[in-house]
């Protein structure tokens, strides 16, 4: 539970430090999805922790020694907020002063992310995609044939219980989706971009899943389609690079995508942000679906076990009474 607060707090912190884009990401990721995934994992693995066997003195000692060494190391670092620090001397001035002429996007973070360091971002998106594949291969379940009755009962339960929340969410979900699109396409001018938009989009669908049940959500958002989309996003990103190569420039050099360099850059950034958004949203969604599917499957197994135990108990009692 405190992870959520932790995410919020660090996001506030980033706002204070002028890192709007980072705060945006942390707000949507740290406060929402990461906490939810942790919770889902905890519900599966059980809440209780085994008591510790050995005393933590050794660990404490190691931590203290490392910490003091690190603090000793900080004595040589530049002061907080010092404009003369080495970080601000290397490429940052160029980004700040020239990006408006070269890329034509007011949000420097977006222009660096999408244009100057596009290759790096491609790698990051590939990492996200790979992580998504990893989760899928670890957790995906074979398709179930029969529907278990207890599940339907729960759906009804959810409906009865969270009527107010449901109706409010019904009104809210389209709004969240619209807002995600706004973040996606307004990322050039304000804080935002593909990463944030993808997470917000996924969060909206996660809200739908939580309120209307996993099976309903899977009917609406087909898991196979989502997995396909994850790959499509990454491919879109890479294709932009290939197209710019075919036009005679370097990989991911958008200057040649249109007649003049600035509008070429605009098109390139828009396209790759779209690719990033699609990949992030679909990877997050498929991760969540798999976690939730596991949880549900486990709960069903437990319920079945309990039922069979009860039946056995009943049978045993009947046997006892018969013998009596």
């Amino acid at each position: 539970m405190l992870t959520g607060i932790y995410g919020l707090l660090s996001a506030c912190f980033f706002v204070v430090l002028d890192a709007v884009d980072v705060a945006f990401t942390e707000a949507s990721v740290g406060a929402g999805i990461s906490g939810l995934l942790m919770l889902a994992a905890i519900t599966i693995t059980g809440r209780k922790e085994a008591p510790k066997r050995h005393k933590p003195f050794l660990a404490l000692f190691v931590v203290l020694v490392t910490g003091s060494m690190l603090i000793y190391g900080t004595l040589d670092m530049p002061y907080f907020g010092d404009p003369e620090a080495p970080v601000h001397q290397h490429v940052a001035p160029r980004y700040i002063h020239d990006s408006m002429e070269e890329v034509g996007v007011p949000n420097i973070v977006t222009s660096v992310l999408g244009s100057y360091r596009a290759f790096d971002t491609l790698g990051e998106v590939a990492v996200i995609f790979t992580a998504g594949i990893g989760v899928l291969s670890l957790l995906s379940l074979p398709r179930r044939r029969k529907k278990i009755k207890s599940e339907e009962a729960t759906e009804e339960q959810m409906h009865e219980r969270h009527m107010v929340v449901r109706i409010v969410s019904k009104a809210l979900i389209p709004f969240i989706l619209l807002f995600a699109l706004y973040v996606q396409f307004h990322g050039d001018f304000g804080p935002g971009g593909g990463f944030q938009a993808g997470v917000i989009f996924a969060a909206a669908i996660i809200l739908y899943t939580m309120l209307f049940g996993l099976d309903t959500a899977k009917k609406v958002f087909n898991p196979a389609l989502i997995q396909l989309l994850a790959a499509v996003g990454l491919l879109l990103y890479a294709c932009v690079g290939v197209v710019s190569m075919l036009n005679g420039a370097n990989f991911l050099d958008y200057n040649v995508l249109a007649d003049d360099p600035v509008s070429g850059q605009h098109i390139g950034i828009l396209l790759i942000e779209l690719g990033v958004g699609i990949t992030v949203a679909s990877v997050m969604l498929s991760i969540f679906f798999n976690f939730d599917g596991r949880r549900q499957a486990q709960a069903e197994i437990q319920a079945e076990k309990q039922q069979s135990e009860q039946e056995q108990k009943l049978k045993g009692e009947q046997d006892v009474s018969r013998t009596l």
């Binding site: 085994a50 971002t121 997050m284």
Partner: protein
């Protein structure tokens, strides 16, 4: 004199909290939580390094001349999303371990491994 360095101390403190959790707790989920805290401390480190006094958010607007360094922001922005994806992968591994061993405590898992090795 050293007061200008307090941001690094906060980072070190957070990092050590995360580190301690990773070392001292046997529960694998807790270990992942510790790793997340560790990760966030690195994020904060980058952002504080990129901060400039009297600077403003790096979105070009009229009448503002000082901006923070956008480079760390870019790095961390991607790192956060990648971080959640990798954390999810770790959690997935933990779930599989739970299904295979029936627990998520480090000692127990080692004990069970030992037992199965002895048998074979």
């Amino acid at each position: 004199m050293f007061l200008g360095l307090y941001n690094y101390w906060i980072v070190v403190l957070l990092m050590m909290i995360g580190f301690y959790i990773v070392i001292a707790h046997g529960n694998l989920v807790k270990k992942l939580v510790g790793l997340t805290i560790f990760q966030t401390s690195v994020f904060i480190f980058y952002i504080t390094v990129g901060m400039v006094e009297r600077g403003s958010a790096p979105i070009i607007a009229e009448g503002i001349s000082d901006y923070s360094n956008p480079l760390p922001h870019v790095l961390i922005l991607t790192a956060i999303v990648v971080g959640i994806a990798t954390t999810a992968l770790g959690l997935a591994l933990v779930i599989r371990i739970k299904e295979a061993y029936g627990c998520v405590e480090e000692d127990e898992i080692q004990k069970q491994d030992q037992l199965s090795e002895d048998e074979s």
